[in-house]
């Protein structure tokens, strides 16, 4: 253990690589997550569908992407799927984001399905009895309520994705972990680069938990930004 002679200067020398890595990690995670939300909503709704030809493909998708390691998915997408479809690779960014979207969508779909199914069925009945169509009831009544319940698990998924994005180093994406590996290789020293990488991930996940906590508060029922509407005739 050479704790006493840690050489932080080697990190400083490679600061640009780490900054670049932070940026790449953030970009991968945000793109993967946003895409994963959109695809996840579709698949999650698909999982609640009564139509078999919608339900089964959605279920299969979730089982497939939850049941296989993300590392394997990344390799298949980068080395096999994208070249097979487009005849060439478009680099780690495209492959990485694609893999993160597809993987994240499976987990988000489960969160969204569970959220929707946790809403009392009386809510749907009340909405339908007022004459709302199924999709109007979904949009106005079910999803807004389900969304509140989905916020904590969706936040967890964001944090998990942020950390899992480090797996894209395997296709030579220059994210945080990649920077650490380069430094480790160049100096043959391991404590400094990997501790810094861990610390950077820790800071990022900490920031995310703060954002999630804010969103949770913002959407809680007691929070009512419009105290009194204007033009109301008061009793």
């Amino acid at each position: 253990m050479d704790f006493l002679e840690l050489r932080w200067d080697i990190i400083w020398n490679y600061r640009e690589l780490f900054l670049r890595g932070i940026w790449v990690t953030i970009l991968l995670t945000i793109c993967g997550y946003v895409g994963g939300i959109f695809l996840g909503v579709l698949i999650g709704l698909g999982e609640t569908s009564k139509k078999k030809w919608i339900y089964w493909p959605s279920k299969l998708y979730v089982d497939l992407f939850r049941g296989t390691p993300m590392l394997v998915q990344i390799l298949i997408i980068h080395l096999a799927l994208i070249p097979a479809i487009f005849g060439q690779s478009y680099g780690f960014m495209v492959s990485g984001i694609t893999a993160l979207i597809l993987n994240c969508a499976a987990y988000n779909a489960e969160i969204i399905r569970a959220g929707i199914q946790s809403i009392d069925k009386g809510q749907m009945e009340a909405a339908r009895s007022l004459g709302l169509t199924h999709s109007q009831a979904m949009r106005k009544i079910i999803l807004p309520q389900a969304f509140r319940r989905m916020i904590p698990p969706l936040g967890n998924e964001f944090i998990a994705l942020l950390k899992d994005s480090s797996l894209v180093t395997v296709i030579a994406a220059n994210d945080i972990l990649y920077a650490a590996k380069v430094v480790a290789g160049a100096y043959n020293r391991f404590w400094e680069p990997y501790l810094v990488a861990a610390l950077l991930y820790l800071i990022l996940t900490y920031l995310v938990t703060k954002v999630v906590a804010y969103v949770e508060r913002r959407f809680s029922n007691s929070y009512n930004p419009r105290k009194k509407k204007e033009g109301r005739v008061e009793a």
Partner: protein, 240 residues
């Protein structure tokens, strides 16, 4: 106004309604009573097709409800429903609960819808609660809001599915009073209830259901005072 012909309802293999024939006229208040499991709630829920009808037909104003060509959403706008569990929308204020459907479906403007909602809240005595959320209200208050919400669509018929069964005893009357008021104003109402006092006082006709059949029906005086069927007598003997 509502005509039910040979209505059958199965849940999987279990036959819950075994051929119901009944007709409800305009401005009539019909109370449906009977032991639990008798099919009375299912009967009510078939009227606005919250339950799929297995066999038979229901007509509202001459329109067959369970015809594939019928727009069920349009029918439902004419048929208000009040649930045992209130089912207010917890993420909306009381006011928004009431204005949502008129604005979305009747394309009412926001000021018009809010004016209507406040009138209805006046009617149920809850105007001061307009900006509250449902969970800040007592059960009785929530149910009165639910009635106002259903009325906001200006329905021709109101269905009540055991509206006071989930309430603490001291709150039952505030809800029944609102319903009585509605009945006096000439609303057509079908009420599934265990409140025999209410049925006796307000109903034009009372229907006794048991085992998926209408066993006996008639004016409240006659059904409560001089029931003909043995099962009616037994049931009334237990609840009165």
């Amino acid at each position: 106004m509502i005509k039910v012909e040979n209505l059958h309802k199965y849940f999987d293999k279990l036959e819950v309604l075994k051929g119901i024939d009944y007709e409800i006229k305009e401005k009539e208040v019909v109370c449906v009573i009977g032991p639990s499991g008798s099919g009375k709630s299912t009967f009510l829920r078939c009227i606005n097709l919250l339950e799929e009808i297995t066999d038979g037909s229901i007509y509202i104003d001459g329109v067959k409800v369970n015809d594939p060509k019928t727009d069920i959403n349009e029918i439902r706008t004419e048929v208000g429903m009040v649930f045992q569990q209130f089912n207010l929308f917890p993420h909306m204020t009381v006011l928004d609960n009431i204005t949502m459907a008129p604005m979305l479906i009747r394309k009412m403007t926001k000021p018009d819808a809010e004016k209507l909602a406040l009138e209805l809240l006046d009617k149920v005595g809850l105007r001061v609660k307009a900006d509250n959320y449902p969970q800040q209200l007592s059960g009785g208050q929530q149910q009165r809001v639910a009635i106002a919400r259903a009325l906001a669509m200006k329905p021709k018929v109101m269905l009540f599915d055991e509206p006071t069964s989930a309430l603490d005893p001291e709150m039952v009357n505030e809800v029944l009073d609102v319903m009585k008021q509605l009945a006096l104003e000439g609303m057509t109402m079908v009420v599934v209830t265990h409140e025999m006092g209410f049925a006796r006082e307000v109903a034009d006709r009372v229907v006794f259901m048991d085992g998926g059949f209408i066993v006996e029906q008639g004016e409240p005086e006659q059904l409560f005072g001089n029931p003909q069927n043995e099962r009616t007598k037994a049931f009334l003997g237990k609840v009165l």
